[in-house]
Symmetry: D2
């Protein structure tokens, strides 16, 4: 390394590359209803919890920066991670969206990049999820009845585990819509002399595409207190998108 970037200052020697950041992900998702009282303790102001609709997922992500997509070759460890998250439908001044109280990820760079953009990311010890392979003689292709599972471990136990049973093929519009993706950028003081940041944000997302949708039922467990869980449905799908940063919500 020559001139050294601060770990949070996007650049070639930072933990975070310069945006925009491109994503391709395979999801196992469960939609559920939580309890408003519990959800309110998970979602900071100014976001307002909606009708209790939530989502939980585990996914595997291939992510590259527009500034250096060749890392998929030279440093594949900087382009692959797993993520597990719980999202709560909420609103901000009449605008609908989803706020993720926690997103667990498996790499440093996705952790820090997420925090810089306003995702409340934490580092997982392990995330594992069902992967099928078309040439494995002991496995079948996805079909009615196929099951998918995943879990996230941090410290002594699971933070999230979920399972989806596929019932039928679907289209992207079959998936519940949450609207915008909200977040919270925070960098608090550890001394009165310091500066700080604390601002609600909305992610600046583009290029969204969803394919390979399969729908069914789902179930989940999580250490996050979302109140009593009423599972609504489950889905698996692939998704791609670009994030260029996040916009402060005044």
């Amino acid at each position: 390394m020559g001139m050294l970037n601060h770990p949070l200052d996007p650049g070639p020697t930072s933990a975070i590359e310069r945006g925009p950041w491109h994503y391709g992900a395979d999801y196992i998702t469960v939609y559920f209803r939580g309890e408003q009282k519990s959800l309110k303790a998970l979602v900071p102001r100014p976001f307002e919890v909606g009708d209790g609709l939530c989502m939980a997922y585990v996914c595997e992500i291939v992510s590259v920066s527009g500034s250096d997509p060749e890392l998929v070759v030279s440093r594949p460890d900087r382009t692959l991670y797993f993520e597990a998250a719980v999202g709560v439908k909420c609103g901000f001044r009449g605008r609908q969206g989803v706020f993720f109280p926690v997103m667990w990820v498996t790499t440093e760079w996705s952790l820090l990049r997420g925090l810089l953009n306003g995702y409340q990311k934490r580092l997982a010890d392990r995330i594992s999820m069902t992967k099928l392979h078309p040439l494995n003689p002991g496995l079948k292709e996805v079909a009615r009845g196929s099951r998918y599972g995943g879990f996230c471990v941090k410290g002594p136990g699971e933070t999230l585990s979920l399972e989806v049973t596929v019932e039928r093929q679907g289209v992207p519009s079959d998936l519940p819509s949450f609207g915008a993706t909200f977040g919270m950028r925070r960098f608090p003081r550890t001394d009165d002399s310091q500066g700080s940041v604390g601002e609600p944000v909305e992610m600046v997302k583009s290029n969204s595409r969803v394919t390979d949708v399969w729908l069914g039922s789902g179930s989940l467990r999580t250490e996050l207190d979302v109140g009593r869980i009423e599972p609504l449905s489950g889905a698996i799908y692939r998704s791609g998108f670009t994030i260029s940063g996040s916009k402060a919500l005044k």
Copy 2:
């Protein structure tokens, strides 16, 4: 756990499930020529090193036991691993095959299952390899000029790293053929009073299929002393097969 299997005694509470074991894998492979003198120090008798042809690969594997394929759902961590290996073409009584002096893997169960069948497996700290995603807006599909890379780390450094540049689509028969897969089952004594095993074997493999072949050039580095490396070609492909055990070669 109720009745407890010994970790090496295949069964539901063992590190190893009962066979047959089914595999589906995505490979990045480099074919090369090593030096006979060096290769001879890597291949035990009764196997005889051939003309110096070798292969090195990194791959991601989805593996299930015929006795419990549902682990892909309930324990995906017991069905997914990465493998990096170096193989040397050799012969046994006129029969051609490949012997792998080392195979690094990322999970306990693939390590122990492999040792039981006669693969000289070691545990990697990390294996990472190029993965593309069709929906990632910053990545292109495989095509002429696409590059793939991978590396394996154990302890303080890399044990193997390789890179392949794709030149054209191919068919399975374009890949160099090595013949049988040889191995060495060993369980030595730590005291004269003990029993031991030491026998050359051939893997009992079936259901082999290969798809998605792309051919090109390749390069590699490895801590394994194979002599001077003359890269011959590179390839990416997917493969599926079943291993039911290994047969002792008398």
Copy 3:
């Protein structure tokens, strides 16, 4: 690497160095009584479960081979590991000892070395345990009331967790005595043509020393089915010993 050892064939390029193997370990141990019916399913013949006395511990181990103790400098990762285990008091032809149905360890080499000697080892994803530091301004030295805890995680959850509260300083003879250390060497067939090993053993242990004993109460949880757990006592201590191999019990 030049001439390559098989991973299980002790030597400089193997996963296992040549014995004898020396150990220095810091233990957090809980003594408890389990239920005979459950314990019998965990202990293979010819060992006979005793009165239900068991032990569970987590420990950090510094281990070197007599053939290359300098690895503590050049490869410290090959000399340090954590271990968590459950041991059951049992007898063999009137000789008292302890059999460990499971020992979880954090490194490849302790896993394979243990299996070769006859310990039923498994790989842990993580073992963590209380460590105090005399210069940490926020911690106190061990004293009456000090508490110690530890846990072992494998896959989605804890396999073992325990806690000890110290009541008084003790001496080595205050610790319950279990006698010999028994084990089971197994290397089963995956095909009828193969050789196999299956023999009960006793570890050949010497140079045993115990210091820094503190005694008190303890509690534990484990996924291993030992029946209802009746905690008897807890202890922390340091121990050193040498293992040169294991002797087959005919």
Copy 4:
């Protein structure tokens, strides 16, 4: 979790506990001289590189928050980590100190706590270092000639490795003095609408104690470009201190 803290907002459900934070650490340190031109690219303004004196270390740390020291029992994984770092002597308005261009650590919480205070921390994949054990029959106590080593791995290779050979026992004042500990708090924008932080800081450190000092010679390798390395001396020692936050330097 009930009311949820943002990962960077110190509190019981955050990645960071409330300060002050207490540390007890065992160090292997090499003092060396680097080249000014290289060092200047590693140290941001307003800090001014001194005469080229630098330090590099690996250490194991027991760290607790004043708000919940009992985590050493219930969550030991939240109180233990390894750290590897390179520090450069520099000045700020006539005040002497050390700035660490990079500190690699092995846990999320030490990573994020450090970033919040102004340390340029990165996550290591592995840090390993010599540890002796007084009861290990194959090891000797520290003495003239004892050697200690350590390394840090991130991605495909070592970021730092070092070795110290002990020549004599010393006292804390034998260790080169660097003065204050400087840092840089940064939380940049990913969009013009956002707030940001960028300020040089000095750590607020107290309760410093050093014991068990042994002095000798040392050597190191690092991926960090510090220019040609001229090793000056090596040391091992234990240290304890408290950090309550960091003070912005105006």
